[in-house]
Amino acid sequence: MKQDKHGKNHKFGMVVDLDKCTGCGSCMVACMSENNVPFKEDESNKKDSLTWMRVYKITNGKSFPETEICYMPRPCMHCGGKGDHGHSPCVSVCPAVATDYDHSSGIVSQIYTRCFGCRYCMGACPYHARYFNWWDPKWPEGMESYLSPDVSPRMRGVVEKCSFCFHRYQEARDLAYVEERDDIEEQEYQTACTQACPAGAITFGDLNNPDHAVSQLVEPDAHNCGKPKNPKAFRLLERLQTNPKVYYVSEREWVRKAGDNYLDGEWEKVKNNHGKDHG
């Protein structure tokens, strides 16, 4: 799809420091209330619950005393697809153009009124970041008036997912327009999960802007589809070439290894040359 070429293109992304994450779940709560995500009577029923941001628990599989645990928050990865051309897995399969790649922000949009619920995107997404509304949202009495007016609530029969709090970008731009500025500041557009994290594990910003913390943390390689030059940083399922915009950082090797599936001996070959291997 042809895009608006006005202005410099952003590439909003997120860096999660897994060594800082305590697994408290604040990001999940903040996300749900910010984005009017409906909750269910039984949130433990994962076939029914919707979690745009979900914290997974992974372990190194070793027994005591070597057992280690890592919590991994997983929003939508906002994949740019191979070569960053916007062919993310979900966008490629959507028959309704209900989900689309915005080249000016790098955000994968989801238009609920356009979605007709075929759920191809859910099948295509390798990160399980998309959720289907099996039911209409049911808010406890009186809670409807507490919903955010900036995010449109979803109806039964459509797919939803994390939008990197896109409405906050829209609002930040509005302010910039009124103040007659050309662009927004880093702090003006931050996602709800980023701000809610008490450990400061989540960082958000423009990966294309070398002044932003995210690009300094992971040093995305512009000539290699944004692969992190920082050897401690990795992306989930890097070798699928989905080109995600969510990066994880960990000092622990087993955590970095858990970011993808490796055959025996394969990890040893790639672990030290993260930035250069397999394009």
Binding site: M1, K2, Q3, D4, K5, H6, V97, D100, D102, H103, S104, S105, I107, S109, I111, Y112, T113, R114, D150, V151, S152, P153, S163, F166, H167, Q170, E171, R173, D174, L175, A176, Y177, V178, E179, E180
Partner: protein, 243 residues
């Protein structure tokens, strides 16, 4: 039973029609009117008087369906609602200045939209003028400190994010481009609500045919896209205008 006999009737008309046109082709006099032609066809076919009535019935039914579709249906589709009281835009524009004296941008860049009752108090704390509408406003809303439940003609569906800042400040557009001459109106028109969608009629446009003469005649997504295509060379990404 009714539909069965109806469909039989229609089939008969169609068969008669085909038969008739064959006969018409045989007649050399092609310049006579349709009714005469039908009559001559009847005579040649051996006095089938049903054909003429069939054609009449078909035309009659067509006219009835056509008119009910284009004239009656729109009236059924929209319910009419009146504003809480009449508002004179022209008078206020004259007194206050431009649109932005009441419909302003907030400090955070968002658009205030409908003014709150509090912002009217400066002038309307007490009765100002002798109109009935003024009396309603002061008695029902100013004294009771309530907001006026205005029906917003240009209210977009919930999934739409419209940035007034981008259009008015950044692109320097005139309010009139989308809202028309509402600033010159002296009364509030009847609000028409689509019974199915609940949206204002101004979104689809007054013309049920979809004819658009002015840029403010319609406010559908296609109308946004049309202007975006002209002005920016692209219809824009989905998230630009959706939320």
């Amino acid at each position: 039973m009714f539909w069965g006999s109806m469909s039989n009737c229609i089939i008969n008309i169609l068969i008669d029609g085909v038969f008739m046109s064959e006969l018409e082709e045989k007649t050399e006099n092609g310049s006579v009117g349709a009714v005469e032609e039908g009559a001559s066809g009847e005579q040649k076919a051996g006095g089938d008087s049903g054909v003429g009535y069939g054609v009449l019935f078909f035309i009659g039914a067509f006219v009835v369906c056509f008119l009910s579709g284009w004239l009656l249906f729109p009236n059924l589709l929209y319910s009419k609602k009146e504003q809480p009281f009449n508002f004179n835009h022209a008078l206020h524009v004259e007194e206050m200045g431009g649109c932005d004296s009441c419909h302003f941008f907030r400090e955070d860049g968002s658009f205030s939209g409908m003014p709150k009752t509090a912002s009217c108090l400066e002038c309307h704390e007490e009765l100002l003028g002798e109109t009935e509408d003024e009396a309603i406003f002061v008695a029902e809303y100013v004294e009771k400190e309530k907001e006026v439940p205005w029906l917003i003609y240009s209210e977009q569906p919930d999934c739409v994010f419209f940035s007034h800042a981008a259009h008015v400040v950044k692109a320097g557009m005139d309010c009139r481009s989308c809202h028309g001459d509402i600033g010159e109106s002296t009364t509030t028109k009847t609000y028409e609500e689509n019974r199915i969608t609940g949206y204002s009629r101004d979104i689809w446009g007054k013309s049920i045919w979809g004819i658009k003469k002015n840029s403010w005649d319609r406010m559908k997504m296609d109308d946004c896209a049309e202007c975006h295509q002209e002005e920016t060379g692209s219809k824009g990404a989905c998230f630009q205008c959706h939320k």
